[in-house]
C-alpha cells in the first residue's frame, strides 16, 4: 500500500514536470518517465525489500533530475508553473503563513467576485511570556487550484472595488495590508465601475494609503496586478512572473495575428524571454525589492518550508517598513537589514507623522524607478540650470501665491466685506431718496424695457466656434475628394467635400456630428493662445531598454516620422491668458503607447505644475496602452504616474483629462482614469481592452459601440463629451469652475 502511494506521488511529480515543460522535448523529463515505467513493470516480480530499495533509488533520481530541470527553466516554463493548478494559491498561504484568518465578503462562489479574496488575519508573535497577535488585512487574487468559478484569478471590476474598500478599512483600523498577486490580468469589461476606471481608482487610493503595504507577486499580469500591487515593499516569488502582457498576447501582437489566431509556440517562448518577466529580471531592473526562493520547479501546497520562508519575509518586510518611518529603531533596523527575517518585535501601528513619512517614502521609491529605461542626453549644466530654474519658480510661487497671495487674499476679502456693508447702507439711502424724488412731478420717468431683447431668441454664438476660421487647417482639407460619414447608413448623412469637412467644419460631420480624426497639430494651434506653447523636457527620449529585437528600428522610424523623441509632448501654454501645463499623448508615435520616457516626462510635468501652481491638462490624442516592448519598464509607469497625479491633486491642483480618438488599457487604467474631471471629444473610444481581447478572454461578443464616448459617459467613466469646435471655450469654463484650491490664478 505504501509503495503504491509512493508510486502515485512519483506519477504526479512526473505529470507536473511534463506540464511545466510543455510541448518541447526534454531528455530529463523523458528519462523520468522511462525510469518510472521501467520500475512499474518490474515491481510485481520484486521482493518487498527490493521493491522498497529500488523505489528509494528512483525517488533520489527524481530529486536529482528535478534539481537539474530547475536549472533549465525558461521564462515560459515559469509562466506554466504559476498557471498550474498545483501552484500554491492564496488560501494555502492564509492557512500556512498566518496564525488565524477570517474570510471577509465571500465564501467560495458566494461572493461578489470569487477571484478576489479578502481576509482579516493575524500573526502571533511571542516575546518572552507575552503573546502579540498582530492583525493584517490580506487581499489577493484567488485561483483556487483551477476552481472554475474563480475565473483563474481574473478579477472583475467590482472585485477590485471590494479590494479597495477593504484597503480603506485597513487604513481606518491602522493595520498593515498584505497583498498577494495571483492574476493573469483583469477581466476586461466596461460594466460599472469599469475595469480601467476601477484599477485607476485603486492605484490612486493606494498611492496615499497611510498603512504599510507589502505585496507578494506570483503571477503579475499587467493592470490586474497593479490594482493591488502598489506597495512599500514588493516581494516576488522566484518562479513567478510580472509582465506588461501575457507572452501569448505579446506573440499575437508581434506576429500581427488577428481574429483569435494562435501564435506559434516558438514565438511565444521567444516573447516570454524578451519581455524579461522573471523574478531575477524584475529584481535587476529594480521593480521588486527582493526575490523569495521557491523549492525546485515551484512551490506547491505541500512545501511547508516555503510557507515558513514566506511568513518570515512578510513579517520582516512589514517590520522594516514600519521601522523606516518611526522613531526608535536603530538596533532593530540594523538587525533587519543584515538578516532578512531577523527575530525582532515591531508594533505595526503608525502615528500621524509616521504615516505622512510612509506615503512620502512610497512616492520616492516609485519616483526613483525606471531611470535607466529612457535617454536623457542633456549636459549636466543644462540639468542643473533646469533644476535651479524650477527651484526659483517654486520659490517665486511660494512667495507670490502662498506668502503674499494669502495676505493679498485676506486684504481683498476684507475690502469685499467693507464694500458689501457700504452697499447696504448706501443702497437703502438711495432707495429712500429715489422714492422721494419719484413723488415729485418732475421726478417721474418712464422705465425703459428692451422688449425685443426679452421676446426674441438669442443669436447663435459664432464667436465660440471661430466662425470656421481656424489657425491651423488640416492637410486632409487639401485633398479634392468627397468623404463618407461612417454613420451614413444610420443617419443618412450625405457625402461631404474634404476641404469643407476638414477645413471650415473642423472634421465634424455637418449632418450627424460625427467627429473625424484630426491631427494633434490642429489642437495645438486651435485650442491654445497663438504663440503661447513652450515645450519642456523635449530632450527625454524613448529607448529600447529590453533590447527587444527590431524595436530600435521601429522607434527610429516613429521619431523620424513625428519629429518627436517620444510619444508624450509636455509644454506650457496659455488659454485665454491662463497658463496651463499640458501633457499630450500622440497617437502618431507608436500608437501613443506609454513607456518609461513618456512616464518620466509626465511626472516631471506634474511636479513642475505643482511647484508653479498651474492647472494640468492631459490631452490624449490617442493611446494604445503601455508599450509592450518595454515590458515592466512600461507597466511600472502606471503606479508611478498615478502617484504623481495624487501628489499634485492633493497639493490643490486641477487635473483635467481630455480623450480624443482611441484611448485604451494601462494609461486609462491609471493616471488618466483617476482624474475626477475626464472629458472626451465626441466620437472618441475609451476602454480597457479592445473588442478582440474581450472576445478572446471572456468569450463575449460586444456591440460595435461598446467603447464609444457616450457609452463611457452613461457608465459614469467620463464626466462629459465635448464638441471639437468648443474645446477651447469648454476649457476656459473648466479652468474657471472646476477643482483646484491652490492654483496661481485663484
Amino acid at each position: 500500500m505504501d509503495i503504491e502511494k509512493r508510486i502515485q506521488e512519483l506519477r504526479d511529480r512526473l505529470k507536473y514536470a511534463q506540464d511545466i515543460f510543455g510541448p518541447t522535448e526534454n531528455t530529463n523529463v523523458t528519462m523520468l518517465e522511462a525510469k518510472l515505467e521501467e520500475y512499474i513493470a518490474r515491481e510485481p516480480s520484486l521482493t518487498k525489500q527490493d521493491a522498497i530499495r529500488q523505489l528509494e533509488t528512483l525517488e533520489e533520481l527524481y530529486l536529482f533530475l528535478e534539481r537539474k530541470l530547475e536549472r533549465e527553466l525558461s521564462a515560459m516554463n515559469k509562466v506554466r508553473i504559476v498557471r498550474h493548478p498545483q501552484r500554491i494559491c492564496l488560501k494555502d498561504i492564509l492557512e500556512n503563513v498566518y496564525d488565524n484568518y477570517t474570510e471577509i465578503g465571500g465564501q467560495d462562489d458566494y461572493s461578489i467576485d470569487p477571484s478576489m479574496l479578502i481576509a482579516r488575519a493575524y500573526i502571533t508573535r511571542k516575546r518572552g511570556k507575552k503573546v502579540h497577535n498582530q492583525p493584517v488585512m490580506v487581499i489577493g487574487q484567488e485561483k483556487g487550484h483551477g476552481q472554475e468559478f474563480r475565473n483563474g484569478g481574473s478579477v472583475k471590476p467590482w472585485g477590485n472595488a471590494k479590494a479597495l474598500h477593504y484597503m480603506k478599512v485597513a487604513e481606518t483600523e491602522n493595520i498593515p495590508i498584505h497583498t498577494y498577486v495571483f492574476t493573469p490580468g483583469s477581466y476586461p469589461i466596461e460594466d460599472y465601475p469599469g475595469a480601467a476606471q476601477q484599477i485607476a481608482k485603486n492605484l490612486y487610493e493606494m498611492a496615499g494609503l497611510k498603512v504599510p503595504v507589502v505585496s507578494v507577486i506570483s503571477e503579475g499580469g499587467s493592470g490586474g496586478a497593479e490594482a493591488i500591487a502598489l506597495a512599500d515593499t514588493r516581494i516576488m516569488m522566484s518562479h513567478g512572473y510580472y509582465s506588461v502582457i501575457s507572452p501569448e498576447g505579446a506573440a499575437a501582437i508581434e506576429g500581427r495575428l488577428r481574429g483569435g489566431q494562435r501564435a506559434e509556440t516558438k514565438l511565444i517562448e521567444q516573447c516570454a524571454e524578451q519581455l524579461k518577466i522573471t523574478a531575477d529580471d524584475n529584481r535587476a531592473m529594480g521593480y521588486v525589492d527582493w526575490k523569495i526562493g521557491e523549492p525546485d520547479l515551484g512551490a506547491r501546497p505541500e512545501h511547508y518550508d516555503f510557507f515558513r520562508k514566506l511568513r518570515k519575509a512578510v513579517i520582516s518586510s512589514t517590520d522594516e517598513i514600519v521601522l523606516n518611518v518611526r522613531g526608535v529603531r536603530l538596533f532593530r533596523s540594523i538587525a533587519l537589514k543584515r538578516h532578512k527575517g531577523a527575530d525582532v518585535y515591531v508594533r505595526w501601528t503608525l502615528e500621524s507623522r509616521a504615516k505622512e513619512r510612509l506615503v512620502w517614502m512610497r512616492y520616492m521609491k516609485f519616483r526613483r524607478m525606471a531611470q535607466h529605461a529612457y535617454i536623457d542626453k542633456r549636459h549636466w549644466f543644462s540639468r542643473s540650470s533646469e533644476w535651479t530654474g524650477e527651484f526659483f519658480s517654486s520659490l517665486y510661487s511660494y512667495f507670490r501665491y502662498d506668502l503674499l497671495g494669502k495676505q493679498h487674499k485676506k486684504v481683498t476679502e476684507l475690502a469685499e466685506d467693507v464694500h458689501a456693508e457700504m452697499q447696504v447702507v448706501v443702497g437703502r439711502s438711495c432707495k429712500l431718496w429715489k422714492k422721494l424724488i419719484s413723488k415729485l412731478p418732475f421726478g417721474q420717468t418712464e422705465e425703459h424695457v428692451d422688449k425685443a431683447g426679452l421676446t426674441s431668441l438669442s443669436a447663435w454664438d459664432e464667436g465660440a466656434q471661430s466662425s470656421g476660421k481656424w489657425q491651423y487647417v488640416s492637410p486632409q482639407a487639401k485633398q479634392d475628394r468627397a468623404v463618407t460619414c461612417p454613420n451614413a447608413g444610420a443617419h443618412g448623412c450625405l457625402d461631404q467635400w474634404a476641404p469643407d469637412l476638414f477645413g471650415e467644419w473642423a472634421g465634424v460631420c455637418s449632418f450627424c456630428g460625427h467627429h473625424f480624426s484630426m491631427e494633434y497639430q490642429w489642437y495645438l494651434h486651435n485650442i491654445f493662445d497663438p504663440g503661447s506653447i513652450f515645450e519642456i523636457f523635449s530632450e527625454i527620449e524613448s529607448m529600447n531598454p529590453l533590447k527587444f529585437p527590431g524595436f530600435d528600428q521601429k522607434l527610429d522610424e516613429a521619431k523620424r516620422k513625428t519629429g518627436h523623441k517620444c510619444g508624450c509632448m509636455t509644454f506650457e501654454a496659455r488659454i485665454e491668458g491662463t497658463q496651463v501645463m499640458v501633457a499630450m499623448f500622440m497617437g502618431a508615435f507608436r500608437g501613443g503607447s506609454v513607456g518609461a520616457a513618456e512616464g518620466e516626462k509626465f511626472i516631471r510635468a506634474m511636479e513642475r505644475a505643482r511647484k508653479k501652481q498651474l492647472p494640468f491638462l492631459s490631452y490624449v490624442h490617442g493611446t494604445a496602452g503601455i508599450r509592450i516592448q518595454e515590458g515592466t519598464n512600461g507597466v511600472i509607469q502606471m503606479p508611478r504616474c498615478t502617484m504623481a497625479v495624487r501628489r499634485y491633486t492633493e497639493a490643490g491642483g486641477l487635473y483635467l483629462v481630455l480623450y480624443d480618438t482611441n484611448s485604451y488599457a494601462g494609461p486609462v487604467a491609471s493616471f488618466l482614469g483617476c482624474s475626477p474631471y475626464q472629458f472626451a471629444v465626441r466620437s472618441a473610444n475609451i476602454g480597457f481592452a479592445g473588442p478582440g481581447v474581450i472576445k478572446e478572454t471572456t468569450g463575449m461578443d460586444i456591440p460595435p459601440n461598446y467603447h464609444n464616448a457616450f457609452q463611457a459617459l452613461s457608465r459614469g467613466h467620463i464626466q462629459g463629451i465635448w464638441d471639437r469646435r468648443e474645446i477651447r471655450a469648454n476649457l476656459v469654463q473648466a479652468l474657471e469652475t472646476m477643482g483646484g484650491r491652490n492654483l496661481y490664478f485663484r
Binding site: A482, V483, D495, W497, P703, P704
Partner: protein, 216 residues
C-alpha cells in the same frame, strides 16, 4: 377579405424575394461579384456588425464606397452595366434573388391575413382577468374581440391603465408577448383575424411547415 390559398400559390410560384441593388449616388462602378448565380451572404454577427458580401465599389470624387449584399441569396441578373461605367443615382446595378425560408413565408402570410394590435407604450401587458382565464383554459382562438373592447391592463411604474382593443373584429389568432415581460412601444401584442378565416390560415401554415422546401 384576402384569399390565403391564392397567396400561398403566388409564393410557391415565386419562392423568393427580388432585391434590386441600385446606385446610392452617381459615380463610377466597379463590380466585385461578376457572375450571375454567385452566392452572396447577408450581414451577420449579433449586431449585424459584419457586412454581407462585397458586391461592387462605387467611386465618386475619389471617394470609394463599398456596396454590400443586404440579404442572403444569389445574383439573379446584372442590369447590363460594365465595370468602370459611370452610373446615375438610383440606377439599377444588379438583382439578388433571396429564397424565402419557412418563417419568412409564414410571417408574410400572417402579416397579410392578420390584423396586428401593437403596444401603445412601453410596459408590462396583461389580459383582462376574464379574457386571461379564457385564454388559459380554452386557448386564445376562442376569444372574440371587437373594436373598443377592454382587453389589456398596462402596468408601468406603479400605475395600471386599461387598454382598449382598436381594430377589426375577430378572434385572437396569435399572442406575441409573455406575461411579466416588458414590451416595447409599437411591438405587436396580438394578431386578430376574422373567424371564418381561421381554418384556412391554420391549414396554410401547416402546409408551409410540412411542404415548403428551403433553398440556400
Amino acid at each position: 377579405m384576402i384569399d390565403i390559398r391564392e397567396l400561398l400559390r403566388e409564393l410557391r410560384e415565386e419562392p423568393y424575394e427580388k432585391i434590386v441593388i441600385r446606385a446610392p449616388h452617381s459615380g463610377r462602378v466597379e463590380f466585385v461579384v461578376t457572375e450571375p448565380g454567385a452566392k452572396v451572404v447577408a450581414p451577420s454577427g449579433t449586431w449585424k456588425e459584419k457586412p454581407g458580401t462585397l458586391l461592387a465599389r462605387l467611386e465618386r470624387e475619389q471617394n470609394t464606397k463599398p456596396l454590400y449584399a443586404p440579404q442572403k441569396g444569389e445574383i439573379m441578373s446584372f442590369a447590363g452595366i460594365r465595370s468602370g461605367q459611370f452610373v446615375q443615382a438610383g440606377q439599377e446595378l444588379l438583382t439578388i434573388r433571396h429564397f424565402l425560408t419557412k418563417e419568412e413565408v409564414i410571417s408574410r402570410i400572417l402579416l397579410r391575413a392578420l390584423s396586428l394590435f401593437c403596444a401603445p407604450e412601453k410596459g408590462k401587458y396583461y389580459f383582462f382577468p376574464e379574457v386571461d382565464i379564457k385564454i388559459k383554459t380554452k386557448g386564445s382562438q376562442t376569444v372574440h374581440v371587437e373594436d373598443g373592447m377592454e382587453l389589456f391592463i398596462l402596468s408601468r411604474m406603479k400605475r395600471e391603465t386599461t387598454v382598449r382593443y382598436n381594430g377589426p373584429a375577430g378572434i385572437i389568432y396569435a399572442v406575441y408577448f409573455e406575461t411579466n415581460d416588458s414590451v416595447d412601444r409599437d411591438k405587436p401584442l396580438i394578431g386578430v383575424c376574422p373567424e371564418d378565416q381561421v381554418e384556412s390560415i391554420q391549414d396554410v401554415v401547416r402546409r408551409v411547415q410540412s411542404d415548403w422546401e428551403e433553398r440556400d
